[in-house]
């Protein structure tokens, strides 16, 4: 987040979100920009490239926590976490999805580098946690199987 953005945030806290929205356009209150190129990337390698991940280390200090089998691919609980100091950014990617990048989080100081959300999975796939700490990238992954359920196909 650059300095001017921080300034805007400081101002929004004074002015209130609604007013800030009308002054600056509602997107401006956000720290993170929605990155169309990263979200539109059609495979894992491209998505990582668009996120700016050039070199990375596979790290056991990063974790993807989920059940190994999801009963329904529409809702798969996934936690990503990192115990690497100064973790500032975390992203969730589902390798086999049409667009792998699912969500990304800026982790401000004071916020635990552990976020849980739920993602859609088109089928069985590796799910990646991509973490940035002190400017370096770290990765972890876990395979989650998606099953069919119910009768009547």
């Amino acid at each position: 987040m650059n300095q001017s953005r921080r300034d805007i945030l400081r101002m929004t806290s004074v002015l209130g979100l609604g007013l800030a929205g009308s002054l600056f356009g509602s997107f401006n209150v956000f720290g993170a920009e929605w990155m169309p190129k990263s979200f539109d990337a059609k495979n894992l390698a491209d998505a990582l490239k668009e996120l700016g991940v050039d070199k990375y280390t596979v790290s056991s200090d990063v974790a993807v926590v989920s059940a190994e089998i999801a009963e329904n691919g529409a809702v798969v609980p996934v936690s990503v976490s990192s115990v690497i100091p100064n973790t500032e950014y975390m992203a969730i990617l589902v390798e086999k999805n049409p667009s792998p990048l699912s969500a990304a989080f800026n982790i401000p100081e004071g916020t635990e580098a552990s976020v849980t959300t739920r993602v859609k999975m088109g089928g069985t796939s590796n799910v990646y946690a991509v973490v940035k700490a002190d400017g370096k990238w770290f990765l972890a992954s876990k395979e989650i199987k998606v099953t069919l359920g119910g009768c009547g196909g």
Partner: protein, 103 residues
């Protein structure tokens, strides 16, 4: 108009545990309706959580975040009675802000 969020913020030791539930279809733009027409994409793109004005989580989301999104995270520095605001904006420009008092 968008439905209200359900935000829970509970102080646990030195950390505030936050759970946010959002009523949103998170439509991918890849599905077809019964008539075979593509259902246009409709999904939350950005979400920010602020405690007394300070950003505690800042997220961007794509179409593969599940319908009725759920977020769970923890931050330090919050006190009981403090106010947490959560705001999201979707791809159609619809937005909603709700708040919770830390308990």
């Amino acid at each position: 108009m968008a439905d209200p969020m359900r935000i829970r913020a509970v102080l646990n030791g030195d950390k505030v545990e936050v759970k946010v539930l959002i009523r949103h279809d998170m439509e991918t733009g890849l599905r077809k309706d019964q008539a075979g027409e593509i259902i246009p994409p409709h999904f939350i793109k950005t979400l920010i959580a602020q405690y007394e004005g300070k950003t505690v989580l800042d997220a961007v989301m794509g179409i593969s975040v599940s319908k009725d999104p759920f977020l769970h995270f923890k931050f330090k520095g919050g006190v009981k009675g403090g106010k947490l605001n959560v705001t999201w904006v979707d791809n159609l420009g619809d937005t909603r802000t709700d708040s919770a008092i830390i308990s």
